[in-house]
Amino acid sequence: MQIILNGQAQPLDTGLSLQDFILSLGLENKRYAVELNQSIVPRSRYLETPLADGDQIEIIHAVGGG
């Protein structure tokens, strides 16, 4: 199956949770927030959030700005 991460399509194995996927990106100890199909997924729910074909994931962090 395929998901869209931060606007880029990429293949992904089926049956993974959002938690599995984020771990695979090596983002431990980073500060970020995640949206799945334009809805916030609270950190506490990554484990129980399954990913499906066509899902749009946004991983957002803080950057400089005024």
């Binding site: 970020y32 927030a33 995640v34 957002i60 962090h61 950057v63 700005g65 005024g66």
Partner: protein, 259 residues
């Protein structure tokens, strides 16, 4: 000592708020902010560059949420929908933090705010328990409407964002300040320390700036200058300036001349 600044029940000793954009690197950002004495620090939200940034330090490693009151902004948003979404992401990122800077742009050239979208977003955010500090024009009527919606601070521009043109319309700012029951913070347009002092002498409760510090030749020294200017301007406002008069008035006594 003057009373502290209180925004939505949060108390601040410093009346300077600073942004984190346009610095050479994060170490310079950190040093400048520290030199400014600011306690409220604003930042933006963007996509993480997955595959490139895993080992890069993040802004929040340098600007600690334990040290500073963070003020996520909605910079770059042109619609109420995008701005509300950005604030919700900020709240998740900062573990339930509700303090946000609402900024909805209307035009890429002037970066003036889109007031219709700003009013819509402000209503939705206030309803959703956000504490909204709102970027707006220097129009007193709009400022009052935003206050009535429940925004906790009104942030009129002094000049276009990043222009460094200084305070362009003192009378409008005065009207806003006179009518406001929430803090009025000049957001945008300050170019140098005297601009910040003028804003404070007019009676503004604070000033938010980014480019004036970050684009100075020596940002850390300018940050210090801005901190002092804000303090000087505030004291001058509280002290109450002398009246202006058209002709001279001798400072040395005119009695006891021996010549």
């Amino acid at each position: 000592m003057s009373a502290p600044l209180v925004i939505a029940g949060h108390t601040f000793e410093s009346r300077l708020m600073v942004g984190t954009g346009k610095y050479k690197d994060l170490a310079q950002t950190q040093a400048a902010i520290s030199a400014s004495g600011a306690q409220i620090v604003t930042f933006a939200l963007r996509r993480m560059n997955i595959g490139q940034e895993e080992n890069q330090p993040n802004l929040l490693d340098f600007i600690s949420p334990q040290t500073y009151t963070l003020l996520p902004n909605t910079a770059g948003c042109y619609t109420a929908e995008d701005a509300v979404r950005t604030c919700q992401i900020a709240r998740e990122l900062l573990d339930g933090h509700n303090f946000v800077k609402l900024e909805i742009l209307g035009d890429t050239k002037t970066l003036f705010p889109n007031i219709v979208e700003t009013l819509k977003a402000a209503e939705r955010l206030v309803h959703d328990a956000f504490e909204v500090l709102v970027y707006t024009t220097d129009d007193p009527i709009t400022a009052k409407q935003l206050e009535e919606i429940g925004c906790c601070a009104i942030m009129p521009l002094a000049a276009p964002i990043g222009s460094g043109l200084g305070i362009q319309n003192r009378y409008s700012l005065r009207f806003i300040i006179e009518n406001a029951r929430v803090p009025v913070i000049v957001d945008a347009g300050v170019g140098t320390a005297s601009d910040a002092a003028i804003a404070m002498e007019l009676g503004c409760d604070g000033v938010l700036m980014n480019t004036a510090i970050a684009e100075a030749k020596d940002p850390i020294l300018m940050a210090r200058a801005m901190g002092l200017a804000i303090e000087a301007g505030r004291h001058a406002y509280l002290a109450g300036r002398m009246p202006k008069r058209p002709y001279a008035s001798a400072s040395s006594t005119t009695e006891g001349y021996f010549f």
